[in-house]
């Protein structure tokens, strides 16, 4: 070969380069954008936070959660109620409250779905979380105290002491700061011994159990942590939009987040962020131009990605092997014979 391999970056370097690139783009973006676009990108950042929470459970621990929006929406509703009925809008109270709500609710769901004597099947957890999200949506729709169909409108702006954090540049940096902090924490988490154990559970749950890991407990822990992340995102979203409504809890949002993460690439963290950004921006542009055709195109696009690029957009840059815990295993997944009812899949 004429061109020697004088510089071939390792996959880790590429991921790091992507992260630095995205970070600097987002740090400088408000300087170049108009107010309207700053608000739009803030929304995307908050959704990226929600996508991170999903990637944590599915991409790393292999728990299929179709219900991340439940924690997102529940936290949103709680902070909205705090602001409406208790007049509490301080950022130092509402965001920890949102986190706590997400954590507690996720722990409740996890302890019912995941803990217990007979370990649940993958499909049961998927459908259980889906049902939770749907039930939450229905409850919020029918409950007068929560505003029913209309949700809770005109939440007062978030405050930090005497200062109001209104939507715009200030809120943008608040959301970005949270995204960076959560991202860094997730990155640390998945690289730690705990993260490796999670990857082990994803690849071969029975073997991890034989090693003496409390598999169900680890799953419940990561599920709760992800719920806390979704909760923060929900709190940020509620104050940013200024209102909460039942769709924030519902199945549509839950599934969207799953598909966006899949589109970007699961199990890489950065893939989740890229997926949300890519789809939200394309969707915003195209939904305006072709409001009826766009959702159809989106469906087909997602289907094509799922069929032909199962590791998502990120796999254009880095090989699949970089995913934590995959190593050389990708090619040798045991083939499941159709028709067998799955136990652990």
């Amino acid at each position: 070969m004429a061109r020697a391999q004088w510089w071939r970056p390792s996959p880790g370097t590429i991921v790091a380069a992507l992260e630095v690139l995205l970070l600097s783009v987002f740090a400088l973006l408000p300087l170049a954008l108009q107010h309207f676009w700053v608000i739009f990108v803030t929304r995307v950042l908050i959704l990226a936070l929600l996508a991170l929470s999903f990637d944590l459970v599915w991409g790393f621990a292999g728990i299929m959660s179709f219900g991340q929006a439940l924690f997102f929406g529940a936290a949103g509703y709680v902070v909205a109620l705090l602001a409406r009925d208790a007049g509490v809008t301080s950022v130092f109270v509402v965001l920890p409250a949102a986190l706590a709500v997400g954590l507690a609710l996720a722990f409740l769901v996890a302890s019912f779905l995941l803990l217990g004597r007979n370990p649940p099947s993958l499909t049961f957890v998927a459908l259980g979380t889906l049902t939770g999200s749907y039930a939450g949506d229905r409850l919020a729709r029918g409950w007068y105290y929560l505003g029913g169909q209309n949700g809770i409108p005109s939440i007062p702006p978030m405050t930090a002491g005497p200062v109001q954090i209104t939507e715009g540049v200030a809120y943008y940096y608040l959301a970005l700061a949270f995204l960076i902090a959560v991202y860094a924490a997730c990155r640390f988490l998945v690289g730690s011994q705990f993260g490796l154990a999670l990857a082990g559970i994803r690849i071969n749950e029975a073997r991890m159990a034989f090693f003496g890991y409390h598999v169900q407990l680890l799953k419940a822990v990561v599920f709760s942590v992800a719920g806390a992340v979704a909760g923060i995102a929900g709190g940020l979203y509620a104050f940013h939009e200024g209102f909460v409504w039942p769709n924030m809890l519902g199945v549509i949002l839950s599934t969207q987040i799953v598909l966006y993460t899949l589109f970007g690439g699961v199990g890489t963290l950065i893939g989740a962020v890229i997926g949300v950004i890519a789809i939200e921006i394309v969707s915003f542009v195209l939904a305006d131009a072709y409001p009826t055709v766009w959702p159809v195109i989106l469906g087909v696009l997602l289907l094509v990605i799922i069929l032909f690029r199962p590791s998502g957009l990120i796999s254009l840059f880095v090989p699949r092997r970089t995913r934590v815990g995959v190593f050389g295993l990708t090619a040798r997944r045991p083939r499941r014979i159709p028709g067998e009812v799955d136990g652990a899949a």
């Binding site: 029918g142 199945v251 087909v300 009812v341």
Partner: protein
């Protein structure tokens, strides 16, 4: 007395609709291990077919006869192109069928202009016995459901085709080794399940009127019914659908409607958690 009879009939009616939806879902889930998120959209397609016949000023009942065939045809194409690739991966199948459903649902939404479209009942009027009024069409739904149920049961247990289906369900490798083309059986089963969904959609469209979100309301209840009854069994699907249908129609009479709606889901999930293999666990066709 009249109120009780009316209530019982309402419960029966909703249970019947659930059974139709869930039969198809259960057959596909049991057979291929796929929880078909596009099932609600098959229901929608069935309803849409009837609506099309109505706009062409053809008789409604003709549309109802055509709907299962149309939906089955669509399903065969989708199975060959898409679903076939999901057999080895149940979770990816959920996501893929969801994306598929999204595309179908939004197409229909575009075609009907995002509105509610009413379709008249093919059998208007009601039977009046004293103060009790029973809508003829709702009674017809119950009767048709029973006929379809018995027909499907006989098809599965009394015919050569049914035998091959059960063989492919029980032990796919052995079925293949015995010269049964499991691929074809899967395609046929998928089409059959979709046809049932199409029929359900066609029958309920006069009652609920056509909108793009018609199918979604049945989907999650359908999944729970399948799991509650036990994946991979015919009776399980029927029993699960009956339990869920009756619960969701009867609970609003007992507790506040807001709570009843959510309570159905909670009770169902708890029951499945306790009996992961469903109510019929193993004792099946």
């Amino acid at each position: 007395m009249e109120a009780v009879v009316t209530a019982v009939f309402e419960v029966l009616n909703f249970g019947a609709i659930m059974v139709l939806v869930v039969l198809g879902l259960g057959v596909i889930a049991g057979m291929m291990g796929i929880f078909n998120f596009a099932h609600g959209e098959f229901v929608l397609l069935g309803a849409y077919t009837v609506y099309l016949f109505h706009t062409w000023t053809l008789p409604i009942w003709l549309g109802m006869l055509a709907a299962p065939a149309v939906v089955a045809a669509v399903a065969v194409v989708l199975e060959r192109l898409v679903i076939r690739r999901f057999y080895a991966a149940p979770v990816i199948a959920m996501l893929g069928t969801y994306a598929l459903g999204l595309a179908i649902r939004e197409s229909v939404r575009g075609l009907i202009g995002g509105l509610y479209r009413a379709v008249p009942e093919p059998l208007p009027g009601s039977f009046d016995i004293g103060a009790i009024h029973i809508a003829k069409w709702r009674l017809a739904i119950v009767v048709i459901t029973v006929l379809v149920m018995v027909g499907s049961y006989l098809l599965l247990t009394r015919t050569g085709f049914g035998l091959r289906v059960r063989a492919a369900l029980e032990n796919p490798s052995l079925a293949r080794a015995s010269g049964i083309s499991t691929n074809r059986i899967y395609a046929a089963t998928f089409a059959f399940g979709a046809a049932l969904a199409g029929l359900a959609g066609a029958l309920v469209v006069p009652v609920f009127s056509l909108s793009a979100d018609l199918g979604i309301r049945f989907l999650i209840q359908g999944f729970l019914a399948v799991m509650l009854g036990g994946v991979g069994s015919f009776e399980g699907s029927v029993i699960g659908a009956g339990v869920i249908g009756i619960m969701s129609a009867a609970l609003p009479w007992a507790v506040a409607p807001v709570l009843a709606d959510v309570l159905v889901f909670v009770i169902a999930v708890v029951l499945v958690r306790i009996w992961p293999r469903g109510l019929t666990a193993g004792r099946t066709v």
